[in-house]
Amino acid sequence: MASPPATTSSNSITRRFDALKKESRRALVCYVTAGHPDVGRSLETLRALEDGGADIIELGVPFSDPIADGPVIQASSQQALEKGMTYDGVLALLERAKPRVPVVLFSYLNPILAAGPDALTRAADAGASGILVTDIPVGADPAREEWLGASPLAFIRLVAPTTPGARMAEIARHGSGFVYLISRLGVTGVQQTTAASLPETIQRLRSTTTLPICVGFGISTPEQARSVGKLADGVVVGSALVSAAEHGPEDVLKLTRSLREALDD
């Protein structure tokens, strides 16, 4: 059975959403893979995200077998691992970067478990505000979910287009910070269109929770961000930024800025 509800810590993520709400703005959530293309440029990428106007940074802790990710994030993870990135390496990067915006660690269960029982408190000490684990759905492992839910980090849970209504409520109740709504069936990666069912899915989710709703998977262009921003509290952009990071921080800055402008229109 599912674990008890997560503690609703009013941490920096919640404060960020409260501030945005007062200004009637949408959150720009930006994913990049830690250590990609290398540690030095990863630092510059983080800086570019902040300067470009990101509200929240999702920092990918690379895993060798990312089953929820498409080719771009797979390749970035493999590259980061080949350069020696580890969980502790991600925390060290975070300590050096000291971003002014909240950081959510984004990963898979195995590297988090391998980092030990104090992995989450160490992440909080390094400056992380939240954690998102793609392969631990609600009710799958109550003991480990409780561990994730009781830490100082906000525990961000995912809702899919296939999730039935009753389960949506269950998921929202066991998460904190915000709810991550996967926009379409499939893995991460750039898509030309957003799912036609998205407005209806957001509406269903909205009726089950008061947490902010951020939509991700497949959003890459300012136009997409603008249209999804009309429906949700935030948009998540991943693969497009990872591709930009491949070219350098200027590209990251440019894309982040254009996403920011589209969202604030």
Binding site: I67, P137, D141, A160, T162
Partner: protein, 394 residues
């Protein structure tokens, strides 16, 4: 909805998958539970296992091998199934289940190609659309099976990521399933993956052990003292073990691939050298580094070249009910030649690991022992590879 403990074997197993798949796994859980209670499903499965697969597979005595190792050896002949391996037992049953569920697009992963061939075969038989993911490295090692799949109308998709073997083919099949979950059924090839797959594939493979148990009584007038099978993901082993698990007098032995040696770092012995971790939806013994990154496996046999193992094997190891051992690439090749020379049966390289262990451990056997080996598949698919490696006698 099924309870979380129903998804596990002790602490192992579970459903560590993206949220998108949870409703599909719930649906599968329900459809499987309903099908196995439906006499009509069982009748149809039994009929096809008989008329299409050729079951029951024979139990062969092995007089010359018995003499060589100093005890009675019996061979459960899954190599004589249609398509040449045990994989079709589960592929056929899952294809029937897919049709019951109204899914007409099938996805599968394959390592040695035997599961891919079995899946392509049943898809041809039922007119289902079939996509098989296979690592590029394995497509090279098991070229014959790639032709067989394509000949039967399956689409074989090369997987270029990671180690380009079974692990990455499985990841890619899961990604396809997440993307096409509404109309697609994923036929997993072993007792791995998220619940209910490990239990379901085991149940569909358990026909091996049920038949063998009765055949042993008929042929030998007794139960085996040991049952030996190779372990990749572990489906032929669970298939032959399952009926014997309650008979504590019967020793169960799973043989993993030691590759270039257990201390070489290049092997697939997850149960002996791994630690519990999460891969492909379940918690089980896993080859990984201190950072929780999956360590690439190695085996001469593509079907054993996998860093994980089915969660029920982890449970049988932890409880001590089964013993897990290993043999190297070289020993496996010797085992293949030995069964060929002594019994006129050329086993698959995967199977050869089980044969090789029985031969290697001959000091351990006493005259009164009856050792039952699961001959999980035939070796034709491997001959090109071992000839190329210069391992066949001229």
């Amino acid at each position: 909805m099924a309870t979380e403990t129903h998804h596990r074997f002790g602490a192992f197993g579970g459903q560590y998958v993206p949220e998108t798949l949870i409703p599909a796994l719930d649906e599968l859980d329900a459809a499987f539970a309903q099908a196995i209670r439906d006499p009509e499903f069982q009748r149809e499965l039994d009929r096809l296992l008989k008329e299409y697969v050729g079951r029951p597979s024979p139990l062969s005595t092995a007089p010359r091998l018995s003499q060589a190792v100093g005890c009675d050896v019996y061979l459960k002949r899954e190599d004589l199934n249609h398509t040449g391996a045990h994989k079709i037992n589960s592929a056929l049953a899952q294809a029937l289940l897919a049709q019951r569920m109204g899914k007409r697009r099938i996805i599968a992963e394959t390592g040695a190609g035997q599961h891919g061939v079995a899946t392509a075969t049943v898809c041809a038989r039922f007119g289902l659309d079939c996509t098989v993911y296979m690592g590029e490295e394995d497509m090279r090692r098991q070229e014959l099976n790639v032709y067989r799949m394509r000949l039967m109308g399956a689409k074989v998709v090369p997987v270029l990521s990671g180690t380009r073997t079974l692990k990455d083919a499985t990841s890619e099949a899961i990604r396809d399933w997440v993307t096409n979950v509404n109309d697609s059924y994923y036929i997993i090839g072993s007792v791995v993956g998220p619940a209910p797959y490990p239990r379901m594939v085991r149940d569909f493979q358990s026909v091996i052990g049920r038949e063998a148990k009765a055949q042993m009584l008929e042929t030998a007038g007794r139960a085996p003292s040991s049952v030996v099978a190779c372990v990749g993901g572990g489906s032929n082993a669970m298939g032959i073990f399952h009926a014997f698990v309650p008979d504590l007098a019967v020793e169960l032995v799973g043989v993993e691939a030691a590759g270039r040696g257990l201390d070489s770092g290049e092997h697939s012995a997850s149960l002996q050298r791994g630690v519990p971790g999460v891969l492909h939806g379940s918690l089980s013994y896993l080859l990984q580094d201190e950072s929780g990154q999956v360590h690439p496996a190695h085996s001469i046999s593509a079907g054993l070249d996998y860093p994980g193992v089915g969660p029920e094997h982890s449970y049988l190891k932890e409880t001590g009910r089964a013993l897990y051992v290993s043999v190297t690439d070289d020993e496996a090749v010797e085992g293949l030649g030995m069964l060929g020379r002594l019994e006129g049966i050329i086993p698959a390289l995967e199977t050869s690991h089980a044969v090789a262990w029985v031969v290697k451990e001959k000091e351990r056997w006493n005259k009164g022992d009856a050792v039952l080996i699961c001959i999980s598949g035939r070796g034709d698919k491997d001959l090109a590879q071992i000839t190329e490696m210069g391992l066949l006698p001229a």
